[in-house]
Symmetry: C2
Subunit: 235 residues, 2 copies
């Protein structure tokens, strides 16, 4: 009889929406860590009672961790990704030095917050959420605002990657995943002006070709398909 | 001659605004850690060239760390507070267990984001920022919205502190500082309905009486004084 060291029995469940950039950030982090996870779709605009029971904020993403029969509920994309980096240490996605970790987190904040409010809410909100929720016609002024604002962010990605291998330094980090998660949603809408931003496109091509990205590239919302280039690695 | 072990020569400079809740969160964290810091006031609605050079987002708070003559710039309140918890390990303000750390960060997100957008932007924006920037009269509908929304958050604080000593568990954490930072700004405006929320008031009285809070209670914006109870520990 072979003595095996006890392996904790851990399973994960993620409540998410395919077009929610913060849910995508968690999915990318899970995949980079090689952590298997069951996915459950929730509509953030109409959270189920189950979701509200798990997260009183009624928001996705929510990660349920079941370890040896005991269930723990984690909410907030930032909290979830930091947890995954602490509980699954390889590959390290924030780094070790406190100053370098602060730079990773600064850029996460940039994309989770600044990009989100300057680009994603305009384009995702007008072009997708209004259609999916049946709440009116897209506002062309707001769409133009989002399309205008994205240029500065793509320029910033170029500026960073001219100086560093990845956004926050020499290694891929959660900052790259945060930026790619937001951009992948805008790319699903067909609204990233890649050809005007060659350096940002080169960075995105590198991250898009990683195995961790495959799940996102397979997303397909019923009645709201992505453009043909969305899943194409040679876009 | 006494041999001293080498102590790195570290100084800190914080660029902040007294009524910015995220700046207040960093000031509370610095004070809880016992870290001395020079403070420089910036107006977030009109960032100086110096601030933009330090932080291309043009936002406060920004922490400049000068160690042995080498300057490092940290931006984003979340990144700064996580850095301070890593670089100054005592007292620990996030805890050790990954699941418990995720709960601290979930609640930080709740107050930095949810409370901020449901309460602070309405009350601070209408009552203070419009006056400080001379951009019109307060909108009473938006003020009523903020005053309505704060009740749910104070109820949630009560719900948490009925089950835990502090918001995220038995120890004071960054979650308490995030919540107190937001509430302290609303309290400066005189808009926290403390007497309708006795449990939340008891929690706030405990945190308000900590030495780390003294700096915030001494804030006084020229031409925009706080109500008398603001600095009163027996409010």
């Amino acid at each position: 009889m072979i003595a095996l060291s006890p392996v904790p029995d851990i399973t994960y469940r993620l409540y998410h929406h395919p077009l929610d950039p913060l849910s995508r950030r968690v999915r990318l982090t899970l995949a980079e860590k090689g952590v298997a996870c069951d996915l459950f779709i929730e509509n953030p605009w109409d959270p189920s009672d189950d979701l509200v029971a798990l997260n009183p904020a009624g928001e996705v993403p929510v990660l349920v961790v079941v370890e040896d029969g005991r269930q723990q509920v984690l909410a907030d994309a930032g909290a979830i990704c930091e947890y995954l980096d602490e509980a699954h240490i390889s590959p390290a996605l924030i780094g070790k030095d406190p100053i370098a970790r602060a730079e990773v987190r600064r850029l996460i904040g940039w994309f989770d917050r600044k990009f989100h409010w300057e680009v994603t809410v305009f384009l995702l909100g007008e072009k997708a959420l209004k259609r999916l929720t049946g709440t009116g016609e897209p506002d062309s002024v707001l769409i133009r605002t989002g399309c205008h604002n994205i240029h500065g962010h793509l320029d910033y990605i170029a500026w960073l990657t001219e100086r560093r291998n990845w956004l926050a330094g020499e290694q891929l980090t959660l900052a790259d995943l945060a930026a790619a998660a937001q951009l992948s949603v805008i790319d699903y809408l067909g609204d990233v002006p890649w050809n005007a931003h060659i350096l940002a496109k080169e960075w995105y091509a590198r991250i898009k070709s990683r195995p961790s990205f495959r799940g996102l590239l397979g997303d397909h919302i019923a009645g709201f398909p992505p453009p043909r280039h969305y899943a194409d690695l040679d876009f």
